[in-house]
Amino acid sequence: MSLKGIDQILKKFEYRESAIIAILQEVQEKQNYLPEKDLEYISEKLPIPLTRIYRIASFYNAFSLKPRGKHIISVCLGTACHVRGAPMVLDRLKLELGIDIGEMTEDGLFSLETVNCLGACAMGPIVVFGKEYHGQMTPARVESAIKKYKKTSKE
């Protein structure tokens, strides 16, 4: 992210250390992950030790320190989704994308993640593409969903 962009976010939160989570969220929002140099810059500007930022950034699942794809695919592996066949859906996604959990496709389009219960168990198994929730997923429906996202990103 541009240093100017980070400055704006920091300003918005009045350089408050207590707003660090909100700051990290906004910085991540733009690029789907938290690059090292951005964290260093935030640490310098607030100023708070870099360790404190890493402690927080590595604690919450919502933050990623590794680059993530344009579309983050999260497969729910909560109990309900699990018994409804989420592991099969996940296997199919791995196969289609050629990546494992926590990895990103070479073209930078997709990342694969898992979550534990999204609170919509009745619709399971659930797969979230970016911000869209897809219920009652089956291995067969995985392929068409990926195709759709590939197409929309090209446009």
């Binding site: 030790p49 360790t51 890493y54 402690r55 604690f59």
Partner: protein, 237 residues
């Protein structure tokens, strides 16, 4: 003065002290791995558990972070306490079966092979290194990272913490001795954190005695000490 009893014996303490410290000062033996008197208690290892009775309520609790109170009854050796301690030792042993202090504790409390799957970690996540670096050294070079089963202690990016002065305080407090410090003529390395710093030679005797960066830092945080104080080793000062 606050008066209370430990195993039936009356002891005295100052307001603000914790039960563990008072017990240790009075010669009671309570095992503890994550406590150091110079640091804030953290209550991580759960080894220092005792039974404390206050009013008509008795409960099992960690003594390192329990503030002393008038009239409480502390018991360090009840059946319940021993059972809790044994379970903690069993868990620690499952995590770190090759760490001498843990093996000794297991022997002392007759804890055999744990029922849990064995790991081989030399760090028990006591957090002493992280606290000494933050609270005493004041540079916050390392911290806890991640959470749950992947929680660990380390520098940001997991290597070569830029603010680490290679003072070795973390290695000194580590109960499992898993932070190694290597030193030669020219450099000191804190192996676990991947931090190597050049050493400064004493202006008088020529012996390498501390990392440059550390002395610079001391020079900055101390007042009223002549600058050349940090050019000489402790023996020549």
């Amino acid at each position: 003065m606050i008066k209370f009893t430990i195993d039936g014996i009356e002891v005295e303490a100052e307001e603000g002290q914790n039960v563990l410290q008072v017990a240790l000062d009075n010669g009671f033996d309570i095992p503890h791995l994550c406590y150091h008197e110079a640091l804030e208690p953290y209550g991580a290892c759960r080894l220092c558990q005792v039974e404390i009775t206050r009013g008509n309520r008795t409960r099992l609790t960690t003594s390192c972070n329990y503030p002393v109170q008038e009239g409480i009854k502390v018991q360090t050796k009840t059946e319940k306490v021993i059972r809790a301690r044994k379970l903690v030792i069993e868990l620690l042993l499952a995590r770190s079966p090759n760490v001498p202090v843990i093996k000794e504790l297991a022997e002392e409390y007759s804890v055999g092979t744990p029922r849990f799957s064995l790991d081989n970690d030399d760090c028990i996540l006591c957090g002493l290194c992280e606290r000494v670096c933050r609270e005493v050294v004041g540079v916050e070079a390392i911290s806890f990272l991640g959470r749950g089963s992947s929680r660990k202690v380390g520098p940001p990016l997991e290597i070569n913490p830029q603010t680490c002065i290679a003072c070795g305080a973390c290695a000194y407090v580590c109960p499992t001795n898993c932070i190694k410090v290597e030193e030669n003529e020219n450099e000191r390395t804190i192996v676990r954190w991947g931090r190597t710093l050049p050493m400064k030679k004493c202006k008088v005797c020529g012996r390498s005695f501390a990392p440059w960066f550390q002395l610079d830092y001391f020079g900055k945080i101390t007042e009223g000490i002549p600058k050349d104080f940090w050019d000489k080793c402790p023996d020549c000062r």
